[in-house]
């Protein structure tokens, strides 16, 4: 973005959008496009607190960074992401889940009560992060929903294991992918329906759930009531909302949202899990999330008093290996100290951390945090550019003013 355009949106160090919306300029791997800043407003969907509106229809609403003060993201502040504008109000009593496909022995249908009653309930904490989280910071900018850092959330999900549901249908030996469809649909039939698939091994993972509860409550409508898929470790695109059908298939799913969308260049992210039946010549589906962190209580340009201890707080997460360390630098990366990791809610959850330091006058007071997972992967300093703006885990830099 050219500097002049950017400055138009700046008043006193914060980006001013509509009254009441101050976006901390804390993620410095680029800035949101000016049009994204200007078109954002705080707005509340039914049943939700005001969130950062990116688009009204379909609704794409982002969680403000301040809502990440705890390890659980409250349901009424959990981000909302839809591709297609028709999102029916689904009634629990009439909802049915079809389980079938060419690679099952006995297709069947489930009611919500049956799903809850007939299968052992499992509960786990897991991060749901949109593949495009932080896309708005991509340099150069790329088209798509211009998310800041809040297209993610962590919840305690409860549901049946997908593998138990599939077992009842009896998988044939030729099953290759499990295909998922939800109740949402586009304005015209020509628009590709939002259909996603998982490789068999991920579908059969004991942590992959057909979930009907989020943080002890029914799912909010905007987060997929009554039932959504929960695919711990993998990006939100697979977490199909308002789930209506599960099909085991012997062939790769070819719809637009698998074959052309949600893809990353093959050679740029060597550590991620592979989805072999969907790999192309030079691109491959996004799968597990890269290790990342977010500082949640200090804003760009925040004034701190020299000699007075300050605690920086944040979250760290990855694609399911679990967080090994978070290090904090208060001098722009010259030296690093281990942050204190807080309670472990499991390898798919946000891991809260904090670090107390005493700001000193003089020198560069740039706050940075860097998470490393148990696989040894860590965050990057330079964006690994890709055309859809995925996997942005650039180390955050926050300039502090020490007085």
């Amino acid at each position: 973005m050219d500097r002049r355009t950017f400055l138009k949106g700046l008043v006193g160090g914060v980006v001013v959008t509509w009254p009441g919306l101050l976006v901390p300029r804390s993620l410095r791997a680029g800035e949101l496009p000016i049009g994204a800043v200007e078109s954002a407003v705080r707005a509340a969907l039914s049943g939700k607190k005001p969130l950062i509106k990116r688009t009204y229809r379909p609704p794409n609403f982002e969680t403000p960074v301040r809502a990440f003060s705890g390890v659980i993201t409250p349901n009424d502040q959990f981000f909302v992401r839809w591709h297609l504008a028709h999102i029916p109000q689904v009634a629990a009593e009439t909802w049915r889940l079809e389980v079938g496909g060419d690679s099952v022995e006995h297709p069947f249908e489930l009611t919500l009560d049956q799903l809850k009653r007939d299968f052992e309930p499992v509960e786990l904490f897991a991060v749901c992060q949109c593949a495009g989280n932080r896309r708005g910071f991509s340099e150069p900018h790329v088209p798509g929903v211009q998310w800041g850092a809040g297209a993610m959330g962590n919840a305690r999900w409860k549901g049946a294991r997908l593998k138990d549901v599939l077992a009842r249908a009896g998988l044939k030996s030729d099953a290759l992918e499990i295909v998922f469809d939800g109740a949402d649909y586009g304005a015209i039939d020509e628009t590709p329906d939002f259909v996603k698939s998982l490789p068999l091994w991920k579908a059969l993972d004991e942590n992959t759930l057909v979930a009907y509860e989020m943080n002890g409550e029914a799912l909010p409508h905007w987060n997929g009531f009554p039932v959504r898929l929960v695919v711990p470790g993998w990006s939100g695109t697979y977490w199909v909302k308002q789930l209506t059908s599960i099909s085991a298939m012997p062939k790769p799913e070819t719809g637009f949202w698998m074959s052309r969308a949600y893809r990353i260049p093959k050679d740029k992210f060597p550590h991620i899990e592979r989805f072999l039946s969907q790999e192309g010549e030079d691109n491959t589906p996004i799968t597990d999330m890269v290790v990342n962190s977010l500082m949640t209580n200090i804003e760009e340009g925040q004034r701190l008093h020299a000699g007075k201890p300050v605690t920086v707080k944040g979250l760290a997460w990855d694609g399911g290996h679990g967080i090994r360390t978070v290090e904090v630098s208060v001098n722009g990366g010259r030296t690093w100290r281990d942050a204190q990791l807080e309670q472990d809610y499991g390898r798919f959850s946000f891991r809260a951390w904090h670090h107390t330091f005493t700001p000193r006058r003089g020198g560069k007071s740039v706050l940075m945090a860097r998470a490393t997972n148990r696989q040894g992967s860590t965050q990057v300093y330079e964006l690994i550019f890709n055309p859809a703006g995925y996997h942005n885990n650039v180390v955050q830099r926050i300039n502090m003013v020490v007085a």
């Binding site: 973005m1 050219d2 355009t5 496009p33 000016i34 049009g35 994204a36 200007e38 078109s39 954002a40 407003v41 707005a43 969907l45 039914s46 509106k53 990116r54 688009t55 009204y56 229809r57 379909p58 609704p59 297609l84 504008a85 028709h86 150069p140 900018h141 088209p143 798509g144 929903v145 211009q146 469809d181 939800g182 109740a183 949402d184 649909y185 586009g186 304005a187 015209i188 039939d189 020509e190 628009t191 590709p192 329906d193 209506t244 637009f256 052309r260």
Partner: protein, 96 residues
């Protein structure tokens, strides 16, 4: 899930009574071609998709986006309208 949607007026009624009502406040910049954009680009989503994706797209980028709307999403837009739309988007929501 696929369903038959034939009644556009019915959709408008849905939006005005739903959570999407806020979209009525959105206004694209005044200029030649705005009506054509409004006629062709609101069927499937609100026009904040256009605002949000500015100011960084060149004409060729807008061209690629509009082509995607037509070829992938099935937007029924005439060739004549496409050039008017591209002129408008490049002038008001694009960069050189």
């Amino acid at each position: 899930m696929k369903m038959l949607n034939t009644l556009l007026p019915a959709l408008v009624a849905v939006f005005s009574t739903s959570a999407f009502a806020g979209e009525a406040q959105i206004e694209l910049k005044e200029g030649a071609g705005r009506d054509t954009v409004m006629a062709n680009c609101v069927m499937c989503h609100s026009i904040d998709y256009i605002q949000m994706n500015s100011l960084f797209m060149k004409r060729t980028d807008w061209q690629a986006t509009v082509d995607k709307m037509v070829n992938v999403m099935g937007a029924p837009i005439s060739q004549d309208d496409i050039s008017v739309i591209l002129d408008y988007l490049t002038t008001y929501y694009g960069v050189e």
